[in-house]
């Protein structure tokens, strides 16, 4: 009990560091670009135009409001890929620091997840913008969309902790993970609708094993359908988040004392 209290005290002491690191990342990311933060909104919009152009003319999926369908999926996917892949390099990136000063090490992957979360909030502006531009139906449930985002934040923190710890010892993971992320785009219904793969039993199983599927589906129900997911959906999302966070904390705690010798 006392140890738990100690952890929370440490987190409170270092919350300024967390804030400063996030604001540093934002500043460094948009330094010297004329549009700055606007890119967080513009980038997903431009990507959406490319994908919509390709997939509504060449492959033709029967999806209502395809641009929004794609944008909702890609917003969450981008959050996942950004937070986990930057968490992966966070420990090696912080090498100079943790060799000189004592800082709780989990701060670094945690900060990357939060930074990606902030970026996702900006991308949400793009989603709302598109809903109005395309005159798609506006549902009040849109206001509930922070719920799946927060579930997913916990999930991403867990994955980030695991990856950041393991990649200290095996740098190969960095290269491998890039490939995995590309595969992941197709292992979740981001570009295509679920109906399009209904014939392929194997792919359906793969997609249903993918935690991202549940978060994206939850999010789309709120934004596009105006329905509130039931208890089962909530429990699945929370379940994945809690299991991976616990696993992440355990792996990280096991490895963290050896980091400094390998960085």
């Amino acid at each position: 009990m006392n140890r738990l209290k100690g952890y929370f005290n440490a987190l409170a002491k270092y919350r300024y560091l967390l804030e400063d690191l996030i604001s540093r990342d934002i500043k460094v990311k948009y330094r010297r670009s004329v549009l700055g933060l606007v890119w967080s909104v513009l980038n997903p919009l431009l990507m959406m135009m490319v994908i919509s152009a390709v997939f509504s003319h060449i492959f033709r999926f029967e999806v209502e409001n395809f641009p929004i369908y794609y944008l909702t999926g890609s917003t969450l996917y981008n959050f996942y890929s950004e937070s986990t892949s930057s968490a992966m390099t966070s420990m090696t990136g912080a090498g100079a620091l943790i060799k000189k000063v004592y800082i709780p090490k989990y701060i670094f992957p945690l900060e990357k997840a939060l930074f990606a979360f902030v970026n996702m909030l900006f991308s949400m502006i793009a989603v709302v913008l598109m809903i109005f531009i395309l005159r798609a139906p506006v549902h009040w449930t849109l206001l509930l969309s922070p719920i799946p985002m927060l579930y997913m934040l916990v999930f991403c923190i867990g994955i980030g902790l695991i990856l950041s710890a393991l990649s200290v010892f095996f740098r190969d993971l960095l290269h491998l993970y890039g490939v995995f992320l590309t595969a992941l785009v197709y292992m979740a219904p981001i570009i295509y609708p679920m109906e399009a793969i209904a014939g392929n039993k194997l792919l359906v199983t793969v997609v249903k094993c993918n935690p991202l599927y549940y978060y994206i589906d939850y999010f789309r129900q709120l934004v596009m359908k105006g329905t509130i997911p039931g208890l089962t959906e909530n429990l699945i999302c929370i379940g994945f988040a809690v299991v991976f966070l616990a696993l992440g904390l355990w792996v990280f705690k096991k490895c963290q004392d050896k980091f400094i010798l390998y960085i």
């Binding site: 500043k27 100079a96 400094i260």
Partner: protein
Amino acid sequence: MDNRAVIVRDVEMHFNMSKEKIDSIKEYLIKFAKRQLFFEDFVALKDVSLDIEKGDVFGIVGLNGSGKSTLLKVISGILKPTKGSVEIRGTVAPLIELGAGFDMDLTARENIFLNGSVLGFPRQMMRDRFDEIVDFSEMREFLDVPMKNYSSGMVARVAFAVATITRPDILIVDEILAVGDFRFQEKCERRINEMMSGGTTVIIVSHSIEQIERLCNRVMWLERGHIKMIGDKDAVCNAYKES
């Protein structure tokens, strides 16, 4: 109540000294198959036990590679000892390398706050004492310049000013008094002296035996990770100079 600030008991620090670092799974498997994986265990510290009383100025001397910096890192919590325990009573300010927390793309103003939070200082305190830090470093003119345009001496000034803004219970100093021009060095030494008279426990590593004799009251001599001698400064310093 005893009066100890730092208690180090039977500390042992091992490093896996493989000739090259194993960073990839392929290398790992090859080495594993050849059974070369766990070779050359390097012992940086062995059976180190010491007590430092509150208010002591404790010096550590020894040749390069004798484990001085490793011991400082163990005491400040950066490294976790392989065996043994370290107990610290009070807050620690490590001056192990100045400017470690700086991001060279940010300006000095932003870096002062960033470095403050790296050291765990509250935001409000940093705001209150911002001017004091800037005045001490004498860098007001260049506050909004990205730090990559600073010279190393200028970086060191800012870093020292931030790190010593609080009165820590324990100050750990590793060879940093050799930065900046002579005037700034004097200023740094004055500030450390001020802290000592304020009751701060100081642990110093230095190759300058004169500096150790001038500042410390107790000295430890490390040799190849063992304590060769520990005690009163005159006795240890004389023995060290004769060796």
